[in-house]
């Protein structure tokens, strides 16, 4: 594996003659701003549109005029572009302006899609909630990746770990609880979590004890989980005849769900969805606010230095990878016992890889990864919504696949370093050998 790292080093040094990154983003925003004001705003329908905050019968909401909003966002982009080339004194505002402009892309997409559809209104609170729900397995999966990679173990087996959790959990639920009983449901979710931990332990043994290439270890996990869950499905679940059942039920958070208009939409949800927030916040607290978290991060950056300071690198790596696996198991339970109460082959459908993309998009930080997961969840929710609204650009219906593919393009751009380069933990992927 060292050879691969070396090649990265050489490729990196030869690319110093790149265009200054700030000017590139400045130019892009400038171009977009001009295009929005001159090209888009006059072209779209100026009839009033409405963002609703609740479901149909007489919903609360705000009406707006699409061209005005498009022009406003265009001006914001132009300002950002100008700040990129401003004298040094004003440069301190360039960073926040870029961030603000990047965030403004989301309202821009919403305004544009409603302006281009025949429907005058849509419920955006519901869209927001759908994004969050769809982001649940992605956020959990990216926390798995975070724990593994910050401790120095690359995990491309998140997908397989989730799948194993989903399959083994549902199998337990179907065979013990007939997929009907609430008590056994919780027990089965626990089994999912443990199954995830067990699969991750396999990755840990392979990559830590045997020094196997971690990418290969991940591929083993993915292939193995696909075979194992397929086997369990056809030999146990199908033969038991219980292919669907009752999943987790929604509940409202006390007090918060009583908030008028939005409370009942935003603060109602299923348990694994709520646990996702606990996991994300917990990950941040443990990784950045506890000594153990600091040790984990040190193992991922410079394990030999960590060892010199008395950190047991091998043990820390085992702990982090298995902790990550437990989280992935919970994500698996989301698929087979919360989103729907059934298991089918390859039910996770590449969510593990999307979670990995979210992690990289978020530059290997908890909040960044969570933001990445939200972006992917949003693009999926929006894709469905646009089809529902029938959004057309000059007679051409925007396919949901485009929106779903968009975050991958953004991640690719981030990895390539065009906008805010994403750099992995220094020691990720390198086997560690105790020095004596």
């Amino acid at each position: 594996m060292t050879t691969v790292e070396n090649a990265a080093g050489i490729a990196g040094t030869s690319s110093q003659t790149r265009l200054d990154r700030q000017s590139v983003t400045g130019l892009v925003f400038g171009f977009l701003g001009v295009a929005l004001i001159v090209g888009v705003a006059p072209a779209i329908s100026s009839s009033s549109r409405r963002f609703n905050f609740e479901p149909p019968p007489d919903p609360a909401g705000i009406g707006f005029d699409p061209p005005t909003w498009v022009i406003a966002i265009g001006v914001l982009f132009l300002l950002t572009a100008a700040l990129g080339f401003a004298p040094p004194a004003a440069r301190q505002w360039a960073g926040p302006a870029r961030l603000f402009s990047a965030l403004a892309v989301i309202p821009l997409i919403l305004v544009l899609s409603l302006a281009l559809s025949d429907n005058p209104s849509t419920n955006i609170v519901n869209l927001f909630n759908e994004s969050l729900v769809l982001a649940t397995p992605l956020a959990l999966g990216s926390m798995t990746g975070l724990w593994c990679e910050r401790s120095g173990i690359i995990n491309i087996g998140i997908e397989g770990t989730m799948l194993a959790g989903a399959g083994i959990g549902y199998m337990t639920y179907a065979t013990i609880g007939d997929a009907q009983s609430t008590g056994w449901l919780w027990f089965s979710i626990l089994i999912s979590v443990l199954a995830g931990g067990l699969v991750a332990a396999l990755l840990a043994v392979l990559s830590i004890r045997f020094g196997v290439n971690q990418i290969v270890g991940g591929v083993v996990i993915n292939l193995f989980a696909l075979g194992l869950t397929g086997f369990l499905r056809s030999e146990v679940i199908v033969k038991s005849g219980i292919t669907t059942g009752v999943g987790t039920s929604e509940f409202g958070l006390p007090l918060l769900s009583k908030i008028p208009v939005i409370g009942d939409q935003i603060f109602r949800g299923q348990p694994i969805y709520w646990l996702m927030y606990v996991v994300v916040i917990g990950t941040w607290v443990v990784m950045y606010r506890t000594p153990w978290g600091l040790r984990v991060r040190s193992c991922g950056e410079n394990p030999h230095a960590a060892e010199t300071l008395g950190v047991n690198v091998v043990r820390i790596r085992y702990q982090s990878v298995i902790l990550g696996g437990l989280i992935a198991g919970l994500a698996g339970a989301w698929f087979s016992m919360e989103s729907q109460a059934r298991f089918e082959d390859n039910i996770t459908n590449a969510a593990g890889f999307i979670a990995l993309a979210a992690l990289i998009f978020g530059k290997w930080t908890p909040w960044g990864a969570f933001g990445g997961a939200l972006l992917f969840g949003f693009s999926r929710a929006l894709g469905t919504r646009l089809q529902f609204l029938g959004v057309e650009v000059s007679g051409f219906e925007i396919p949901s696949e485009f929106l779903q593919a968009l975050p991958f393009v953004v991640t690719l751009v981030v990895v390539a370093g065009a906008v805010g380069r994403s750099i992995p933990p220094a020691a990720a992927g390198q086997p560690f050998h105790r020095s004596r």
């Binding site: 050879t3 083993v220 993915n222 485009f402 690719l412 390539a416």
Partner: protein
């Protein structure tokens, strides 16, 4: 990685006798780990089969007959193996340059959709087969090469790690082809007469000649992909480019100072590597399916990783490893039919093979296989990574 233990004396002593014999007769030493990994995986699979109450020998006997039980079965197994040769070569070639191309999955899709597009062009039916067939194969190869070249360029120009960029590109191309094949308004590549999403059938002139009417059809693509393996072996071992690829793989810094254009080698290796996946996809489209469906190539790229590692990235050994892989998948339905064992057992066995090949310390310990000092299969360049 010093797995040669002093314990487990019984198995070990017997094994070393067998080793000595095998080594004198067939010089199989470099393959020991792979062979034992296969053996061990079948044992694990057998345990699993017994747990569900089936005699593993009954199941394996049915599997074996499904693989090589007759002319049709053998032809079917060969046909099933053909694309795996390409996807495994895709990994193996990049690996020699120190690159981990896990994007064969996406390169297959890119190659397949390009081949299907070119094959279904209206003027293809006017061309004679001798022109049309190379054209569709070249189209697929180019599609794969471009999709493989992108991560190469990103790696060379920006240092973006190819593992990450190929994962992103796999998803991107999947969404892309899904849209092309699904969309009815506008129609991109969808066959509007078909109820399932797939592309228009390719022109008859672009269909690879059939060898045996087996299930799936055995076609001339077999020779093309087997031939490519020998070409790759020649290129890697006997040409300047092959030497550069190997040198960059072993030490890019030294290569840089020796005057090799490292970036050029990285981009070229990734593109060549992707072209093998593209060729495999094109031969499938042209010889077997006659049209493109995204689901056809599911997992084929990841299987390629396992096959390439099983063959220790040796291009000629890949032929044997791919045959094993494809025939197991081809034989599994008979096992399900006769012994009532889910075909997924084969998937589990295959994952175990990869596991034992990768964690060779387990195998070396159990069977007392020594590490090689010098291997004709260049095990050294592999050891660092596997």
């Amino acid at each position: 990685m010093n797995g040669v233990g002093n314990a487990n004396a019984g198995v070990g002593r017997a094994a070393s006798q067998v080793h000595r014999f095998l080594n004198e007769v067939w010089r199989l030493q470099p393959l020991y780990v792979s062979l034992y990994a296969i053996l061990l995986s079948f044992v694990v699979g057998g345990v699993l089969i017994s747990i569900i109450g089936v005699n593993p020998f009954t199941a394996y006997w049915a599997l074996l007959r499904g693989m090589v039980g007759g002319g049709d079965q053998i032809a079917g197994s060969l046909a099933r193996s053909v694309p795996f040769i390409g996807s495994a070569l895709a990994l193996a070639f990049a690996f020699r340059a120190g690159l981990f191309n896990i994007g064969a999955e996406g390169q297959l899709l890119a190659g397949g959709v390009t081949a299907a597009f070119v094959g279904a062009l209206s003027w293809m039916s006017d061309l004679p087969g001798i022109v049309a067939i190379p054209l569709i194969l070249i189209a697929g190869t180019m599609g794969g090469a471009i999709w493989g070249g992108i991560p190469g360029v990103l790696r060379a120009k920006t240092g973006a790690h190819e593992v990450i960029s190929t994962i992103m590109l796999n998803s991107l191309v999947l969404f892309g082809v899904r849209w092309m094949v699904n969309s009815r308004d506008p129609v991109v590549l969808r066959d509007t007469d078909s109820t399932v999403p797939r592309t228009d059938p390719i022109s008859d002139t672009a269909v690879l000649p059939e060898l045996v009417d087996s299930q799936p059809t055995l076609h001339v693509g077999l020779f093309a992909l087997v031939g490519i393996c020998f070409v790759v072996a020649f290129v890697l071992n006997r040409t300047t480019f092959g030497f550069e690829v190997g040198t960059v793989g072993l030490n890019p810094h030294a290569s840089h100072y020796a005057g090799i254009n490292v970036n050029r080698v990285i981009v070229a290796s990734m593109a060549v590597s992707g072209s093998f996946a593209g060729l495999a996809a094109a031969s499938e489209i042209s010889g077997t399916n006659g049209f493109f469906q995204p689901g056809t190539f599911f997992l084929m790229g990841f299987d390629g990783i396992a096959i390439a590692l099983l063959a220790r990235t040796n291009p000629v050994a890949i032929i044997a490893a791919a045959l094993l892989w494809g025939s197991m998948l081809s034989g599994a339905p008979l096992m399900q039919q006769e012994a009532d064992v889910s075909i997924d057992v084969v998937r589990i066995i295959q994952a175990m093979v990869l596991l034992f090949v990768a964690a060779d310390a387990i195998v070396r310990y159990l069977f007392r296989v020594r590490e090689l000092d010098q291997s004709p299969f260049k095990a050294k360049s592999i050891e660092g990574a596997v």
